[in-house]
């Protein structure tokens, strides 16, 4: 397992991982601070989103607490021309590529199903059907090959693709087919598996008998396991294999061993299937804490950490107010993009709904839409705090 930053914040590059360690030389002090700042900000965002869900402002929240190093590190390992195909928990990766985090909250409030522009952001839409995005990434990477955007040596031309998925998704056939199509087509692609050890209530042991980083071997896609709670390993290994992919060396599989500290979603109750001892074990391996220890030992002072905390609180305040201000979508949104080209059934039904709603005059439903969010009863076991997230 590739690890550069131990849980007590010590940096060490073992000889066997020197090829990855070289990538740390690319980092400046500012990058280390950026890693920490983003990890802390996305955790603060995550906690705020959980609170917003508990207050009925979001229909659902999908916490990623504990996975910040895997996401921020790998996100910064992805180049400015590369494309990212996330699953549905990659809020940290989104942050590293400038996605407006409100786009994610909008979706979870029920305003839309995504709606950001994947061409412009290079960060594709969240995929809720497990593993489905792996094939889209592979097809996209096949297109990168067909377009000749691989191994030209020109950094403005060469591109690679990264796809994120979890341990649970590896059981889906689409992930295996994605590996096969990638190998056959030698796509410029990284398969980034965040093994957070729980697929809702199913443990990794119920998903695989062979370590996941070896899943690609039979297809011809080699893999490596990294300490997913080490942001430096996550950055370096991702950057290296994205470079290799851009340079025409084909696909690679990265398993980031991490842990989902929080619930699967706010509808989940992890106390039913895992022990407090296990969660405590992983809290001790918190990705932020070890980077904080490291930075403090490097002489980074309290002023920085105070500033990060204040910036996180400001972000939380900002998204809270922006969530309150989110308007319900106009009814046309339900119809407008089902097809690109005119479709008589859609036009007929949209006109009917408009007419029907209009027939209520003062009571018109469209004019008085109630909030799309229903406060549902959920297990009262997930308490929000600003330290370790939902626990």
């Amino acid at each position: 397992m590739v690890q550069f930053l131990s849980m007590d914040g010590k940096l060490h590059v073992p000889d066997e991982w020197a090829q990855y360690g070289e990538y740390l030389n690319r980092l400046t002090e500012a990058d280390y601070l950026k890693f920490y700042r983003d990890m802390a900000r996305i955790r603060r965002f995550d906690n705020e989103a959980t609170a917003l869900q508990r207050q009925g402002q979001l229909g659902l929240w999908i916490p990623a607490i504990g996975q910040e190093a895997a996401q921020i590190g790998s996100g910064y390992g992805v180049g400015p021309n590369d494309h990212i195909f996330p699953s549905y928990r990659e809020h940290g990766v989104a942050l590293t590529h400038g996605i407006d985090l409100m786009s994610i909250l909008k979706m979870l409030r029920g305003v839309n199903h995504g709606g950001w522009n994947p061409d412009e952001t290079r960060f594709h839409l969240y995929a809720i059907v497990l593993g489905s995005q792996v094939l889209h990434a592979t097809g996209y990477a096949m297109g990168v090959n067909f377009d000749g955007n691989v191994a030209t040596g020109n950094p403005d031309v060469d591109q690679a693709v990264i796809t994120y998925f979890g341990d649970g998704a590896t059981a889906e056939g689409d992930v295996s087919e994605g590996l096969l199509f990638a190998a056959i087509n030698k796509t410029p692609q990284v398969f980034f598996c965040q093994n957070n050890q729980w697929a809702i209530s199913s443990s990794t042991a119920s998903q695989t008998t062979v370590p996941l980083f070896r899943r690609g071997e039979g297809f011809g896609v080699n893999g490596v396991r990294i300490d997913g709670n080490d942001v430096l390993a996550s950055y370096a290994v991702t950057a290296k294999h994205m470079d290799d992919a851009r340079n025409g060396l084909g696909p690679y599989f990265i398993e980031a061993l991490t842990y989902r500290i929080g619930a699967h979603t706010t509808s989940d109750d992890p106390t039913k299937y895992r022990s407090n001892e296990e969660v405590d074990y992983w809290k001790a391996r918190d990705p932020l804490k070890r980077l904080e220890i490291f930075l403090r030992e490097q002489g980074v002072g309290q002023v920085f950490f105070d500033d990060v905390a204040a910036s996180g609180d400001a972000l939380a305040e900002e998204i809270r107010l922006a969530t309150f201000a989110l308007a319900n979508p106009p009814f046309e949104n339900m119809f407008n993009h089902v097809y690109s080209e005119p479709h008589p059934l859609i036009e007929e039904q949209m006109a009917w709904l408009e007419n029907y709603e209009g027939s209520f005059e003062d009571e018109g439903h469209l004019a008085h839409q109630t909030t799309a969010i229903q406060v549902v009863e959920t297990p009262d076991v997930i308490q929000v705090n600003n330290e370790g997230g939902a626990a």
């Binding site: 950001w116 889209h136 592979t138 297109g143 067909f146």
Partner: protein, 327 residues
Amino acid sequence: MSNFVEMPIAKAINAGLRQAMALDPKVLLFGEDIAELGGVFRVTEGILNQFGPTRIMNSPIAESGIVGTAIGLAMRGYRPVVEMQFDGFIFPAFDQITTQLAKMQNRSEGFLKMPVVIRVPYGGGIGAVEHHSESPEAYFAHTPGLRVVSPSNPNDAYWMIQQAIASNDPVMFFEPKRRYWQKGPVNLDTPPMPLHAARVLREGNSATIACYGPMVTVALQAAEIAAEEGIHLEVIDIRSLSPIDFTTIVESVKKTGRLVVASEASNFVSVSSEIAARVAEQAFYHLEAPVLRVGGFDVPYPPAKLEELFLPDADRILEAVDRILAY
């Protein structure tokens, strides 16, 4: 003066594919055994020689992978045309088609286009083993975000495949496999009509037969036989199963007052059912008799020795015509 060429449906699809590929370098073909072999039905025969291996490729035998990667290629700006080897082999791709392909434009609020065509040889009558004779079109017609079409003759095959490829929406292209080698004239200059328009193939005033794909030939036979008895059937080739050109069907029913809808697909919750419901809504006062559906039975497609009993023939259509004329 238009340039007419006689060719069978399979060759017309082949010619249409080549035309689309020549016009747009982003059109790519892939599927199982479609390159050197030309597909199990030889529909893509010779395309490899003309366009080379960067434009037409064999895929691993993984239908979900074929459709899933086609989606990714469409995101990259390509216009993939993929082949499902047989109707009964489409189901491993059902998830990618219904949860991803059909919904991607809506999910992205229009930022993404999905110009993917899925070619599906469908229907029975070829004496095949299980899973090689099915008519699964209703599953896809029921799925918002997809377009579903089926040509019945070479001219439509030639033009409809090109129109499907030109569409920015995903199109399920159902090819009547038992009619692949049925010949007819193809007008190489002018498309006959828009992709989603139905066509009145034969005019009549006694009753309307609405049908599509492989059943069109059967309905025309029925109309010939009926004409000898002085019964004049109007035959409509629906051509598009989603959306459906209800206007053409309803106008015909307003004239004839009677409708039979014929398909190889089982009747229960079918395209035929939708047409019957719509006609009841839109032509109620014009109907002289209930709308009848003539289709496959609601059983798994039978072994080859029983398929003649399963598939509606001209007599089955005429039996239904007799019943609606008796009202």
